[in-house]
């Protein structure tokens, strides 16, 4: 680890009108990478060699299916964005640029592994088998999440920054108590993943989660997508020591991975999940990536960041690099890429139609599920509400 990465992060943060003084796309010498921005396999180095074994099963078919996931996830996201622009959704937080970080992590998980997402983890949801249509409800305002987390082991989105880190930690403590770590049975041993952003690392809950999981040695993997912005605040407003280095201070191994490299994200997450399932405790992964779009559809990034920065990151695009790799390896031709794009078109169409047809819930439904058991006040107000509404229909 060089002095360079120990030094304060992004202190040379860009002034509004000038390009960044140094290459902020450079994750430093500790960053694990297997596929560079040009789509070349990175030679085995001291940094990535511990993870190379986790890619041994990655053959041509697997590479193609990773590519397919990246493209479909980007398309789901683009559709979410478009639906917001057309007034079908109230808000959409785009994952543009973070596809590889999310698909790498999501594909590393086994069905029994549980994910605790923030609000931008559409790619992880996809890999866990959650229908993208389910994600739209809360952004359309018809529910607050609404999917059954236990169906796909994918928890509801959590909007309050940091809260879910502790939930994941506690869930992992439960897994531990259930005796489902270190049994050696790959179908039973279970790990938990918690997702947050660079901004989230400042929150109290995040730091408490690291303390609790370290003490309990619970099977949880913290996955920080460092997309370099927390709305308008760059990394240097959130931390001086980057998250992957800070983990060690909590007693948790930390690793920085190239979040725009799906192979590295996959390998590093697989390794961390293996540790967790094997009973060796938590790991923190910092996926070094970039938020290519606005924070959400409500945000205007021109207020606080320069286009030159975005242009630099465009050259690191996670999908381009895998595509180049597939072409170079003779694993994809125009026809095959065209077929994936056509599949993406169909998916987008299905999402669009389902969103447009998503009915407004009957208003009485807002009184449901406040409590498990009957609560007289809610019951009374529900009945009063129904009578009040009916009084208009009579008129």
């Amino acid at each position: 680890m060089s002095d360079d990465v120990v030094a304060p992060v992004d202190t040379a943060a860009p002034a509004t009108h000038e390009p960044p003084a140094r290459d902020i796309t450079d994750g430093g010498p500790d960053m694990v990478q297997f596929l560079d921005a040009e789509g070349h396999r990175v030679p085995v180095t001291e940094v990535n060699s511990p993870y190379a074994q986790y890619l041994e099963d990655v053959d041509g078919e697997m590479l193609r299916s990773l590519y397919r996931d990246l493209v479909l996830v980007r398309r789901v996201d683009a559709e979410g964005h478009a639906l917001q622009r057309q007034g079908e959704l109230g808000l959409w937080p785009s994952l543009l640029g973070q596809e590889a970080a999310q698909v790498g992590a999501g594909r590393a998980m086994r069905p029994q592994d549980y994910a605790f997402p923030g609000y931008r983890e559409h790619g992880v949801a996809w890999c866990k088998g959650v229908d993208p249509v389910n994600l739209l409800g809360m952004f359309r305002g018809v529910n607050h999440g609404g999917w059954d987390s236990n169906e796909n082991n994918f928890h509801l989105y959590t909007i309050v920054i940091g809260n879910q880190m502790l939930h994941a930690t506690g869930y992992a403590m439960g897994v531990q108590k259930d005796g489902l770590v270190g049994t050696g049975d790959p179908d039973r041993d279970t790990a938990v993943m918690a997702f947050t952003g660079d901004g989230g690392t400042a929150q109290g809950d995040y730091n408490e989660a690291l303390v609790f999981s370290a003490v309990a040695q619970s099977p949880v993997v913290f996955y920080v997508q460092n997309n370099h912005w927390a709305i308008s605040e760059p990394n240097d407003r959130q931390f001086i020591i980057p998250p992957y280095q800070r983990a060690r201070g909590f007693g948790i191994p930390g690793v920085r991975v190239d979040g725009n490299d799906v192979l590295a994200s996959l390998a590093v997450t697989r390794a961390a999940l293996d540790r967790a399932r094997g009973g060796q405790g938590p790991t923190l992964i910092e996926a070094f990536t970039y938020r290519m779009g606005a924070h959400t559809t409500s945000d205007d990034p021109t207020k606080y960041r320069i286009a030159a920065e975005v242009d630099l990151w465009k050259k690191k695009d996670p999908i381009d690099r895998l595509r180049k790799h597939l072409v170079a390896e003779g694993l994809g031709d125009d026809e095959w890429f065209g077929a994936i794009d056509a599949e993406a078109d169909d998916l987008a169409q299905r999402i669009r139609t389902a969103c447009q047809q998503m009915p407004n819930p009957p208003h009485e439904e807002m009184f449901e599920n406040v409590y498990v058991d009957e609560h007289p006040l809610v019951t009374r107000e529900r009945d009063e509400f129904a009578a009040y509404q009916a009084s208009f229909e009579e008129d």
Partner: protein
């Protein structure tokens, strides 16, 4: 530090000298900004803390331009941690600063709840008056904007319930401008609720004049004789529209904008209720143990023999703030207020 940009957009004179000037029309958002700007010009100890309040000017642009004009020393983009923001504001206040803290949305104040309730509210009391915490906690609040979860809450009752905190809310641009300055000038901590769905409502302000009301005065917005409507924040406008509608049906409704939730302006409230004999309280917050409960208790206790009807509450139903497609029926509206007025008059 320069103030030139401010001088162009606002005519606020230094030192608060009265100035004969035409009133300016501005939005509540701009008025809040102008109020903070003027307080910052008047007192170098006033500092702003919050998430995204610098370059971005806050997600609602309430602090727009202030970092540019007053510098990063006085307008701090903090790390993303509300307990951290609140706790460091306490420390800054102990060191003689006057922090104005922005909580990005109502639903994100809870990580700071401990600092507010355990420390901010109690410091003066437990130090036997040796320590003061002259801070302002700004909270954009309320619903009606079609937002996702945690962005539409009305949590004023938690803080009004907490002794040691002053709690106010501005419903007009004029109040936004003046109450912000008064809150910053207060030596007690003030929780300042900003009705976010009304941010872009415009109103007239005499920038150079003295504040027309005290920070804790209630104000009669519409005169009436039959029923008193007690409202605050985003509901004041709705209540005034309801009063107009009632007028066309021959009912004279008096609308009182409470402005201050702790303390309450008891004399103004009682004076009106003693005149009308009927009171309806309107707020977005869930009614159970909300401001309406306190007002109902106060009125029945202090004006019992003047009452012609029980005090009626109109508020959010006692469920979590629902998905936004329900909010038009969850939140009090014209019809629900008029219905309550009718019910009150039916006694």
């Amino acid at each position: 530090m320069t103030t030139s940009a401010g001088a162009q957009t606002q005519a606020a004179p230094a030192g608060g000298q009265p100035q004969e000037q035409a009133p300016q029309k501005m939005t509540i958002a701009k008025a809040l900004n102008a109020g903070m700007r003027r307080a910052m010009e008047a007192d170098p100890k006033v500092v702003l803390l919050g998430e995204d309040i610098g370059k971005l000017g806050g997600v609602f642009r309430i602090t727009e331009g202030l970092q540019k004009d007053f510098g990063e020393d006085r307008v701090l983009d903090t790390p993303l941690a509300e307990s951290g923001i609140m706790g460091t504001a306490v420390g800054l206040a102990l060191r003689g600063y006057r922090p104005v803290v922005e909580i990005q949305f109502d639903g994100f104040v809870y990580p700071a709840f401990d600092q507010i309730v355990s420390q901010v509210a109690k410091m003066h009391y437990r130090s036997l008056g040796h320590l003061k915490l002259p801070m302002v906690i700004r909270i954009p609040y309320g619903g009606g904007i079609g937002a996702v979860e945690h962005h539409s809450e009305s949590n004023e009752a938690y803080f009004a319930h907490t002794a040691g905190l002053r709690v106010v809310t501005a419903a007009t641009a004029e109040d936004a401008y003046w109450m912000m300055q008064q809150a910053i000038a207060s030596d007690d901590p003030v929780v300042f609720y900003e009705p976010k769905r009304r941010y872009h409502e415009r109103g007239e302000i005499l920038l150079g004049e003295r504040a027309p009301y005290g920070l804790h005065d209630a104000v009669v917005r519409t005169q009436g004789t039959d029923v008193t409507l007690l409202a605050y924040g985003p509901m004041v406008k709705t209540a005034m529209i309801a009063a107009q509608a009632a007028e066309t049906e021959g009912r004279s409704v008096e609308v009182i904008d409470l402005r201050s939730l702790s303390p309450l302006d008891v004399p103004t409230i009682l004076q009106s209720v003693e005149k009308t004999g009927r009171a309806v309280v309107v707020h977005e917050a869930q009614t159970y143990l909300g401001m309406g409960s306190e007002l109902a208790a106060l009125i029945q206790q202090e004006a019992f023999y003047h009452l012609e009807a029980p005090v009626i509450r109109v508020g959010g139903y006692n469920i979590p703030y629902p998905p936004s497609r329900h909010e038009e029926v969850f939140l009090p509206d014209l019809d629900r207020i008029l219905d309550a007025v009718d019910r009150s008059l039916a006694y």
